[in-house]
């Protein structure tokens, strides 16, 4: 059984699970505000569905008004109580609101979400919604170190957030285009020797995220990072003449992540 960081003091914004193999994986926890917004969307969905349900079932009123009213009471009860249970079970921990805000219910041990967990966390809404507007659940979320409301606590679940990360264009980054720095294999080898994985990480991340930066910041950042790598190994001027800081960094990353020239990622 893996363990998570439940014993760690203080409030966390990640749920860390460590497997018996010693590998850790982290999940970003959703805060009370995002969860409240997702719940607001779900509430609107339930309201819209109840209006549609009412109009559809009204047709049965032609046969019997008593039957229509009974059907409406039961259908509304089942839908309002079953909405969260059904969607979270069939969409692996997501409702419409959670999908929109990229949230997901997960087991706190990283194991499979069981139906009993989905059911318990949804039934517990009776208490979490007391006295109004999920005050108990909201307070519990704020106090609890894993942002769990009482339902999550009883069901051993947590709500995590999967933020959208743009896919990096690695083919472009490490494409095997002509790299003037490779003309100096000894200096390239020295560079690989002197640069730490953390420094290589910074260079790669700067390139991967370049489109997220505004032009001024981008130029400034690449200048700063390039000057750092200049200080590690000084390549002759003819190797760096006429290339931008960004291209210089691209060449550095190519050397660091390609021990031999490649024609592209397979």
């Amino acid at each position: 059984m893996g363990r998570n960081d439940v014993t760690a003091p203080g409030r966390k914004n990640t749920l860390t699970i460590k497997t018996p193999e010693g590998v850790e994986f982290r999940m970003l926890l959703a805060g009370p505000l995002t969860r409240a917004l997702a719940w607001g969307i779900d509430f609107l969905c339930i309201c819209a569905a109840s209006i549609i349900l009412n109009n559809v079932l009204m047709l049965t009123g032609i046969v019997s008004r008593d039957f229509f009213q009974a059907l409406y009471v039961i259908s509304f009860f089942l839908f309002s109580a079953g909405y969260g249970i059904t969607t979270e079970w069939f969409w692996r921990g997501q409702t419409i609101g959670k999908k929109l805000f990229r949230l997901r219910v997960v087991d706190v041990y990283g194991l499979k979400l069981q139906f009993s967990q989905v059911l318990i966390r949804n039934l517990m809404r009776i208490i979490d919604s007391l006295p109004a507007l999920y005050l108990v659940g909201g307070l519990s979320c704020i106090i609890n170190r894993h942002s769990q409301r009482l339902g999550d606590f009883a069901a051993n679940t947590a709500v995590i957030r999967n933020p959208k990360i743009n896919e990096p264009d690695l083919d472009q980054l490490l494409s095997g285009k002509y790299n003037s720095l490779r003309e100096y294999p000894l200096l390239a080898a020295r560079l690989r020797q002197r640069v730490s994985p953390a420094e290589a990480k910074i260079a790669l991340q700067a390139l991967v995220r370049r489109n997220e930066l505004n032009p001024e910041s981008r130029v400034g950042l690449f200048r700063e990072v390039a000057s750092h790598f200049h200080s590690k190994v000084m390549f002759p001027e003819e190797a760096t003449h006429g290339i931008t800081d960004e291209q210089y960094l691209r060449n550095i990353v190519d050397i660091l992540y390609h021990s031999k020239p490649q024609t592209g990622i397979q």
Binding site: T19, V73, Y257, Q262
Partner: protein
């Protein structure tokens, strides 16, 4: 050391793809059983991917690969390390005749405690009404029960036609949904270390005791039996079972004398709570139908003897069901 990403990817990708295909197949058909060889290969792929994740985290910096490997590792991890029963195809008859009664019997001490709390409430309500007539108004929340019982009986027995024609189904649906909400509330109140569940059970008992004593003192015991018992013999045990579920939840929360952690205790009881609350909901659907279609009719429309006999048969069957059903399948 810095990983040579292209070589690393080209060498490892095939293992990740194989693992992903295996996980997808398991997630699609949870009841699927792997052969020993398949299991060994699956475990090998999981360990290899875990090692790759550790490498990528330490020696490289590519968020998408990291995220992909974290996702693969976590999915494979939950397939390998999940020790709870795998979800199987639903078998309603097995659940109804084996799982549900066995689960109730498994926690019989908690059920007895639930009964004792309600009986204490019943005694309190009865005593309060017998000693102080004004207590009735405070305990009984339903306005139609606050008048003189004899007057009500006289009025009910004067009706000779179907007075509930056209509203019976609505009544049944109201009883079902309302009682289910009360039952669920009784269960989930267990999260308050059982205090909420105890209050719910005690208060329901007190209401029942107050009404019962009120009618008995007025000499309307037969009417009371005929009115309450057809649905009450199912509804009251259902509330007691909801109380049992609440007390199980409270027990797991408190964890007296247990060495396992709170989270593990909660994990242990979650399937049992699910079983009990579904069973309770089924019982309340039945009780709601009986309450609307039989209990609310009195003599001369339906003879009391018939109603009381019907309740007796229900009680006998329910008792046999909980005591015997699923007994030949061994302990839970």
């Amino acid at each position: 050391m810095i990983i040579n990403l292209p070589i690393f990817l080209s060498e490892e990708k095939k293992y990740w793809s194989e693992l992903e295909a295996g996980i997808n197949a398991l997630e699609k058909s949870p009841e699927k059983r792997m052969t020993i060889e398949q299991t060994k290969q699956f475990h090998y792929l999981y360990r290899r991917t875990s090692a790759d994740l550790a490498k990528v985290r330490t020696f490289a910096s590519e968020p998408d690969i990291l995220r992909y490997l974290e996702s693969l590792t976590s999915r494979a991890y939950c397939e390998i390390h999940e020790t709870r029963k795998r979800p199987h195809r639903i078998s309603p008859l097995h659940w109804l005749f084996v799982t549900f009664p066995q689960t109730v019997r498994h926690y019989k001490r908690t059920f007895v405690l639930s009964v004792l709390i309600m009986v204490a409430g019943f005694a309190f309500g009865g005593l309060a009404v017998s000693f102080d007539s004004e207590a009735r108004d405070a305990i009984i929340p339903f306005a139609n029960l606050l008048g003189d019982p004899s007057d009500r009986v006289k009025e009910e027995e004067s009706v000779t036609d179907d007075r509930l024609k056209g509203i019976k189904m609505r009544g049944a649906s109201f009883y079902m949904t309302h009682n289910t909400k009360v039952a669920v509330a009784t269960m989930v109140m267990g999260i308050t270390w059982g205090v909420g569940t105890v209050i719910m059970l005690f208060y329901n008992g007190a209401m029942l005791g107050a009404v019962t004593l009120d009618y008995v003192i007025a000499g309307q015991s037969e009417f009371l039996m005929a009115w309450l018992s057809p649905h009450g013999v199912v509804e009251i045990p259902a509330i007691l079972l909801a109380g049992q579920a609440g007390l199980i939840l409270a027990g797991a929360l408190i964890g007296w004398g247990q060495r396992i952690s709170l989270r593990q205790r909660m994990r242990q009881i979650s399937n049992d709570l699910l079983t009990i609350i579904f069973g309770v909901a089924l019982m309340l659907v039945w009780a709601g139908i009986i309450e609307a279609f039989i209990s609310q009719y009195h003599e001369p429309v339906i003879p009391y003897a018939f109603k009381i006999s019907f309740a007796g048969i229900e009680l006998l069957l329910l008792t046999l069901y909980f005591l015997k059903s699923g007994g030949d399948h061994g302990p839970k």
